[in-house]
Symmetry: C2
Subunit: 457 residues, 2 copies
């Protein structure tokens, strides 16, 4: 990875500059809206839409008025999904990989002091990953003509291995599956190459714990805001519609409050995406309409390490997590650099978590009602919006304060879509009958949390 | 249904006028492109992408040149998916229902002689359907304030029943599941209402066998062409991008050959969608670049009645089909009025069919690679493009004739997305291991057909 001293600072401006650097390599993914999901999210009981006999969607049955004036405060949402499932390699990770490699490729005497493309091509890059980061780095390296060594656990699925080694100049090296085993193989690769070439050996590009990675992932949030502004200005907001054009001109218009999200939610695993997103939206802090950024985690087997770490007094990063949550992209603990952003309550407003069944319910609704294929990790923020009573109450309260009856404009970063029909089949053919029972007991506790599990995991 | 003598003729201009009439009621669904699917479709063996060890997608590995100059002629595609899975009620059927009802609602003394909205509200409408047409008519009727009686077989799924009766003013009446049983109940409803009100009783709106329905369904093809033109003009064609705005201005530009599809494919069940689409594209016949329209069917248990009917000498509509193909929207035989269009070889260039496994393979690729949820019926045209050797050979030959090396611009009408995660689970957890075997035997016969089954079903 690039010497940290040569990285841009973790600021909104650095994200804008990173976007400028990587935009020709990545897709400007669509920002889509769904009238159906707005209706479901803005209903008093979104779970009702999962019943065998769900309420209708299309009639103007007065639901728009739900909760206003009544005793129950029901939050109201206009949701905007930033579809990184349509990103190259099917996930946002392409952004971070291109950010890291284009920094390294910068000439040493340029402002962004890298090692230069020639030196980079001599040395190459290395990482260990069994998931989207492996494919993202393989893509970025082969695109720039840089050799890459990707250490993958032998137990990785065949399709992921071939999706990684299918790129030109990429070598997959196998390892055991624990972190020490993987790191040992990375060191072996570096040592071997060093001996072979007499050079310094391949440069490690970690999946999330580096400033360049955060700056890259943050560009998804940057684009989403730009697209919202362009949609609001053109009036092109309709159900099923998408804004997918390249570089819609901004012209610097859209003053405070115009085309700003009220809130943006991202999944939280290692923290690259949340850290980058929160860094971008800190630019709204001088404005009258601040965009609040939230992280979203599964709470199964303690996967909500971010939420638990923030709840500790004093807040403290949790370093080890062992969970088999269905949201397999979110099984890692938050990294050190992401934690520095996430634990800054000026940047991240809060972290919320949801149960496995809530994730599956949200995934089912996104697939059946919005007709998009997303990976379980991407359903986590949707589940927070639909089912986390503390989050919903917070939104309802903000709306009551504002008093205009305007629904909240909420951005949701859909992190990726790398799943298989077989994987989905497995998910929905087992243990898939809990929500009706839960529905009966989903009471809101005195502090607004549904159950102790929400916090303690 | 409206008196046939008051219907517009089955011409492109009538489709334009129908679109004008219904456009405020329906969604202008996005037209999306996928670089990944273009690459898969343009490869010599699309099945390879279903193997455990599939070829890469993102490297520029020279695949764009595949088949050119070599002995094997490989067709090359730029695919455009018209996403009616994002239409209201999740399928194109909303178009036909609004077309039928807005015609009926026209005043008797207007050009389009209906019975007037007041008379229509007094009489109401009736149909029998267990699927998308039931919900489409329920939506259109409730939107226009017209009472509707929908006869549904008692065995219909609960979600479809509630999706139908959830609309205001809609009454679901149950029946047996055979056609005579359903028709008997329709007649009972009409008789009963007639006695109750002293009026003529509710008007029958059939699912496909009526000119108004064809004209409505054809508007999907009309919009797709308009969107292609707008995309080509703006240069806004990128992977993952979508054109979803309302009424992009055309300005009458785009002369012959500019922004025209080389071919458009639709699923073929009752024939409303194919008949309407072919009617619209007959407007290209005076142009130097004619858009060829193809129908696509499953061949399981003789579901390819359209293909078989056209192959008969002389061609003859097949009136009865009994099949349990996974493409459940395509189990019905072609209707009389649709047949009049489909059997006109000036309008429909051909009908091709695919096996159950080919449909599942196409569905899997659309979900995993394009990240969209579609119903199995909508995967049928995709399967024809990827796996029907006769179709692929035909495209390759046209390309050889043209000699420019330009890929074909092919529109695919994605008819709907009404499926459930449980339904998908069932589909992909059983008998899902055939494609590797088939891959070995997928030889092309002397006449270009893969096996006798393709034609005989």
């Amino acid at each position: 990875m690039a010497d940290p001293s040569t990285c841009l600072p973790l600021t909104p401006d650095s994200i804008r500059r990173t976007h400028e650097r990587i935009k020709t390599y990545i897709h400007r993914t669509p920002l889509i809206v769904s009238r159906t999901m707005n209706k479901i999210a803005s209903s008093p009981d979104p779970r009702a839409y999962l019943a065998d006999d769900p309420p209708g969607i299309w009639d103007d049955d007065g639901m728009d008025g739900d909760g206003r004036g009544s005793g129950n405060e029901v939050p109201r949402f206009n949701l905007y999904f930033k579809c990184e499932n349509h990103q190259k390699i099917g996930a946002f990770k392409a952004r971070g990989a291109f950010s890291a490699l284009t920094h390294l490729a910068s000439p040493p005497n340029a402002e962004l002091r890298g090692i230069g493309i020639e030196a980079l091509r001599k040395r190459g890059v290395v990482t260990h990953s069994s998931g989207n980061h492996a494919q993202a780095l393989a893509l970025a390296a082969s695109t720039l003509g840089v050799p890459a060594w990707i250490v993958m656990p032998t137990i990785s699925t065949k399709s992921k291995i071939s999706g990684t080694k299918g790129h030109k100049g990429v070598t997959v090296v196998f390892s055991g599956s624990t972190a020490p085993e993987r790191e040992a193989v990375v060191n072996e690769v570096i040592e071997e190459r060093r001996k072979e070439t007499g050079e310094k050996g391949p440069i490690l590009v970690p999946p999330y714990d580096h400033v360049d990675i955060l700056l890259g992932q943050g560009t998804a949030g940057y684009e989403a805001e730009e697209q919202l502004r362009s949609m609001k200005r053109s009036g092109k907001i309709c159900s099923g519609a998408a804004e997918g054009g390249h570089d819609a001109a901004d012209g610097g218009r859209g003053g405070a409050g115009e085309g700003r999200f009220d809130a943006v939610l991202t999944p939280l695993g290692g923290g690259g995406l949340l850290g980058g997103t929160a860094t971008w939206y800190s630019h709204t802090h001088e404005s009258s309409k601040k965009t609040l950024v939230f992280g979203c985690e599964p709470n199964f087997e303690g996967a909500n390490d971010g939420e638990r770490g923030l709840a500790a007094k004093p807040p403290k990063r949790i370093e080890h997590v062992k969970t088999l949550t269905v949201a397999d992209g979110l099984r890692t603990p938050v990294g050190i650099i992401p934690w520095s952003v996430i634990s800054d309550n000026e940047k991240v407003e809060g972290v919320f978590s949801v149960s496995e069944d809530e994730i599956k319910m949200a995934l089912k609704l996104m697939m059946e009602r919005v007709k998009v294929v997303i990976e379980p990790s991407s359903a986590v923020p949707v589940a927070v919006i639909l089912f986390n009573q503390r989050f919903r109450q917070l939104v309802a309260e903000k709306q009551k304060e504002e008093g205009t009856g305007r629904p909240c404009d909420v951005g949701v970063i859909i992190s990726g879509g790398n799943t298989t029909v077989e994987g989905l089949s497995k998910l929905f053919s087992e243990g898939w009958n809990k929500f009706d029972a839960e529905r009966q007991t989903g009471e809101v506790g005195v502090d607004g949390s549904r159950t102790a599990e929400d916090v303690a995991g």
